[in-house]
Symmetry: C2
Subunit: 424 residues, 2 copies
């Protein structure tokens, strides 16, 4: 199939976009892309591809922007229940300690996830996953971490495998057993850390080999923060995971700078995520590394905080910057990478071109899937978007709605109806 | 038709919600609403209405929230072109004066609107109007103000009448000839003020009687700010408009406190809008008046500014608070009242219930249409939403996407597909 007459075809072709290279869109005016089965075969000018493939079935982009599907490299897709009541309590002025006493906070989600069956977890995550897809996300990373006990963590992993099977969306799974200290270990974080290392990680490895044979191991991630896992505990978990062969990620510096970003660099983690309170030294370390810096602007937005990831500093330090939703039930229930781009432009002062690169090719590198997705290049998966806009800069400029017209995933076309139609 | 089994039916019934009354949802659990033709006939418990109307055709709300359609009482719906390139220039660090020198800013939209035909204006506004509708806005105020010359201002008014005719959406039009000083009058703002008063307002009145016979006159609005119309000029325009019988609105205190809010109160304006820099004295004046205070949180968000309308102060002062998108091509291209609610909760510290009331019944009062829309009460228009959530607090809590499942406008049902479907 030849998708043609894109006002702007953004290929995002090439290497990860490091530092000031960020924003290299590979823009082809009046562009076209040839896809066959699940793959991209050729990219170029409409006139050239029409001439070269005269009898190919055609899909007219009608002067819209065509670009790679978004890659969302940090989400907590699978959880039980919601925390809408807690959101209202906070706004009505209820003190946070009272909310915790009323069973609120992350442990509320842990409770609701532990008591949910696998069917319930899948049923509740499904509309979120489809909502992501409708907003143009064709590949998504998704974490466990609301079980904080082996059985529920494995149930979350299983839910991710089932969701990937039933959809056409690629899901990169991450084991985040070290997301918080579970209620059973409130007074013994080291005891839980040891449990993660000595019991959970080996079990996850074995479980994975049984349930996802031949498939790359999931990432292992840890929440390195004052009220979660300190730097030594984070190191203990990540080093153990590395010995078992897991690729690594880290939640670092969302609220406090504990040195998690430099730890990530030292251990060769694939990404370090959040990075709001990151020190200049840690930023320099990221800039000299292959560890992708993943900014999650929905989190400060969700919390109505003013401080965001210092993206310009990361760029100046030559880091590889990516963007993600952090979709989760506590701080940021948002499925749309378009909204992440709108925030990144305003709050982190990225240009639309930079934010787009951070949400596609660099995001693919943040989950080690850039060999398959994140750009429009021959041989890559045919994951692309037709946006209902004539210029890529409408991403960022406009906010609060969905600019996707069609999602093409592995060569199949899905229409997104942002309008309305009469049913009765 | 009986819409039944709403987990929560929000009626918003009753008077405008002043001061601390804001947030009175009129919530009926397991609620139902009976509609016939274009009107609401009855509201109550599912069991009661089912028993009373056993043979009525039914629409199952499936445990979702049902509520009135949103009323968006401040938009600039009709304009020509866009300013996406200017958005990128600003982020890339281009000084604002250079952007102006390159033809940017509001006068760029004026230029693109002046050169657009009526067909172009309608064609460009249509997807915005449909996008609003898909996000649950069933009644919208819309302003002229990108002509700044009689012919183009009338063309914008005409476009609004055509858009209302072709859609089922109620549009409350506003003449905003005094939106900015046009290029021809850059050195003579008083000359333009006189032109608005002596020429444009009488022509608009006459034009309206010819083109919309029998219909209520549009609002007349003025942009009372340092770089637009000063307080004396704003007064001159509004007093003249009042003498001609127009109902009044004002843009006040977006950037500077010139006293526009108190002027609005003094002249009995229907609303005063923006209100970011409003003084305590002006807030007290609003609190003692019937003038609705319309907050536009997308504007500071769009500009990445931290200061929002002091909603809590307005509530304490007993004002009638409403919310609107301010949808416009310069600072806030967003069509979704749901996103306005998400901002209002976080940045203005409204609860979801308060924000919902401000976006429905109070917003209807801000455009004097509360006799017809803004709440679910027998005799009112059947304008309502079925949201794909079980609890109203998901509005505000979640952000960046569209939670509407169905829009019912004047009794007709429209489905909004937030998911996707395969087309090829």
């Amino acid at each position: 199939m030849l998708i043609h007459s894109a006002s702007q075809l953004l290929t995002l072709a090439g290497d990860p976009q490091r530092g000031r290279e960020l924003g290299r869109l590979g823009l082809i005016e009046d562009g076209a892309v040839l896809i066959r089965d699940e793959k991209i075969v050729a990219v170029g000018k409409t006139a050239d591809l029409r001439a070269a493939y005269p009898s190919e079935p055609r899909l007219d982009a009608d002067g819209c922007v065509v670009m790679p599907g978004f890659v969302d490299p940090h989400t907590h897709l699978v959880w039980g229940g919601d925390r809408a009541a807690e959101f209202e309590m906070k706004l009505a002025g209820t003190p946070y300690l009272d909310i915790l006493a009323a069973g609120g906070g992350i442990l509320s989600t842990v409770r609701q996830t532990r008591t949910a069956s696998i069917e319930t977890l899948v049923a509740q995550a499904r509309p979120r996953l489809l909502r992501m897809f409708a907003h143009g996300t064709t590949t998504v990373e998704a974490k466990t971490g609301y079980g904080l006990q082996t059985a529920t963590e494995l149930r979350q992993l299983k839910a991710l495998l089932l969701l990937e099977d039933e959809s056409r969306i690629d899901i990169a799974p991450t084991f985040l057993g070290a997301h918080a200290i579970p209620p059973e270990f409130q007074d013994d974080p080291q005891g839980y850390t040891d449990l993660v290392c000595e019991t959970m990680l080996p079990i996850v490895r074995q479980w994975w080999e049984t349930h996802a044979p031949g498939r790359r191991l999931p990432f292992v991630d840890v929440f390195c923060e004052n009220k979660a896992f300190n730097l030594a505990q984070s190191r203990q978990i990540l080093e153990k995971a590395r010995r078992l062969g897991f690729p690594l990620k880290i939640h670092a510096d969302e609220f406090d700078n504990l040195g998690g970003a430099s730890l990530a660099v030292e251990l060769g983690a694939v990404s370090a995520d959040h990075l709001v309170k990151t020190s200049d030294a840690d930023i320099r370390a990221l800039g000299r590394s292959e560890t992708v810096a993943v900014a999650l602007p929905c989190t400060p937005f969700g919390l109505a905080e003013c401080e965001y990831t210092p993206a310009r500093k990361l760029i100046e330090a030559d880091a590889i910057l990516a963007l993600a939703t952090d979709c989760n039930p506590g701080t940021a229930w948002n499925e749309s990478m378009q909204f992440v781009i709108a925030l990144a432009c305003r709050m982190m002062k990225l240009t639309p071109a930079q934010a787009i690169a951070a949400a596609t090719i660099n995001a693919a590198h943040a989950i080690r899937m850039a060999n398959k997705v994140g750009s429009l290049e021959p041989g890559k998966q045919a994951d692309l978007l037709i946006l209902s806009v004539p210029d890529y800069r409408h991403l960022g400029y406009r906010f609060g709605t969905n600019l996707v017209r069609q999602v093409i995933k592995k060569g199949r076309v899905y229409s997104v109806d942002v309008g309305y139609y009469r049913t009765a």
